[in-house]
């Protein structure tokens, strides 16, 4: 399960670290730090605190795009959006990091795997307001096709709810990634457990 931060709940650092810790300890998750409103300096401090917290939990911290910050802060890896620096170049520059990549087609999924990417986010699988820029939903059949075309883990993203999770796993997804369901920090642990029950079933 990948829990993506959207500049809402993790920016309030004091509270955020506690929430992230509760989250990281609940079940193994990938926390994807996606804080576009933060300058590199504050993002680096936040990452450093999250990275040292997460070490003992079995969960992982991925930084969106800025692999320099991932390297400097001790995060596990970097998540590369489609408009990022080319993945093969990032791989060469930061061989020790885990690298994920967002893809929106089978062709780019195959290409990403060839460039040495460790896992993919494919979507939007379902309609979602936060991913409208990436066009209409791709649907479960395309998700299945992408999962069959690559041997690295594929996480379904876009409009994912606990109820829709099982269908994605059935189509071959390794896991799911979501932002919206996790914005309500108070309900975060409960939401994680709901997702987890569908993933493990």
């Amino acid at each position: 399960m990948i829990v993506s931060s959207g500049g809402e709940h993790l920016s309030h650092q004091g509270l955020a670290i506690q929430q992230a810790e509760a989250l990281a300890r609940s079940v193994p998750v990938i926390i994807q730090l996606r804080e576009k409103g933060l300058e590199a300096g504050p993002l680096f401090s936040l990452c450093g605190r999250l990275a040292s917290m997460i070490k003992s939990t079995g969960s992982m911290l991925m930084v969106n795009e800025r692999f320099d910050i991932a390297l400097a802060s001790g995060a596990h890896g970097v998540h590369l959006p489609e408009s990022s620096c080319p993945p093969d170049i990032v791989r060469k520059a930061a061989p020790g990091l885990i690298a994920g990549r967002s893809v929106h087609s089978r062709a780019t999924a195959v290409k990403a795997e060839k460039s040495g990417i460790d896992y993919l986010l494919f979507g939007p699988v379902f309609p979602t307001p936060s991913k409208e820029a990436f066009g209409p939903p791709q649907g479960l059949d395309l998700l299945e096709e992408v999962c069959r075309s690559v041997s690295i883990p594929v996480f379904a993203v876009g409009g994912i709810t606990p109820d829709r999770t099982f269908a994605c796993i059935e189509k071959g997804a390794y896991g799911i990634a979501a932002l919206g369901p996790f914005i309500d920090a108070g309900a975060l642990p409960k939401m994680v457990n709901r997702f987890q029950s569908f993933i493990s079933s």
Binding site: E65, R66, A72, C85, I89, A93
Partner: protein
């Protein structure tokens, strides 16, 4: 890579293609180009940076990337320029290695001392004069603190902010090793001539 004794640094802005601007700046005698595009994607920055670095190599000029140490690492830039809200220079130094050129923007002597301690090679001091290129919440420094900032850091000072043909000599007399400009070159009718004129005045 070592810093030239007196030099012009041209910084890219949103008005022109960064590669075209770099080409004209180098033609006009700039010895340093800084890629700065806050809204561009990582891929755009990477592709521009690769091309500008090549142009700079041909002219034995220095190429640095603003803020994005990741881009500099990916395409082996000569260095980076960091603001006070960017990655700390110490972190950039450990990622980029001992040969990279690292500049840090400062507005006072204590930031200058810290920059040196963190491993900076030069100081960007500013803004010296009023400028429209960036929104500023603090008043301009004027030219008088330049020497003290340089002494505090023990490093060359590149002055920035509102510098043009009419005040470049004042800045150099105040102790700057170089000047960094945005609109004075990119906004000129003839950027090559504007850069050349600034370089001439730096050496007057």
């Amino acid at each position: 890579m070592t810093l030239p004794r007196r030099f012009l640094c041209v910084i890219t802005d949103e008005s022109l293609c960064p590669v075209e601007l770099a080409c004209m700046a180098l033609e006009g005698g700039a010895r340093m180009v800084q890629l700065r595009r806050k809204t561009a994607s990582g891929l755009e920055l990477y592709e521009w940076a690769v091309r500008i670095q090549e142009l700079c190599r041909q002219r034995e000029a220095i190429f640095i990337v603003n803020d994005r140490v990741d881009i500099a690492l990916a395409m082996h830039a000569d260095g980076v320029h960091l603001g006070q809200d960017d990655l700390p220079a110490s972190a950039a130094r450990s990622l980029l290695g001992p040969d990279a050129i690292i500049g840090v923007s400062v507005a006072n002597t204590s930031e200058a001392e810290k920059a040196r301690y963190d491993g900076a090679n030069y100081i960007g001091a500013g803004h010296i004069f009023p400028t429209l290129s960036k929104e500023k919440t603090t008043p301009p420094l004027g030219t008088s603190p330049i020497r003290d900032i340089g002494k505090a850091a023990g490093l060359p000072v590149v002055a920035i902010g509102g510098i043009g043909a009419d005040n470049v000599q004042e800045v150099m007399k105040a102790g700057a090793s170089g000047i960094a400009v945005i609109s004075a070159v990119s906004g000129a009718n003839d950027p090559v001539a504007a850069a050349r004129d600034l370089v001439d005045r730096i050496w007057l």
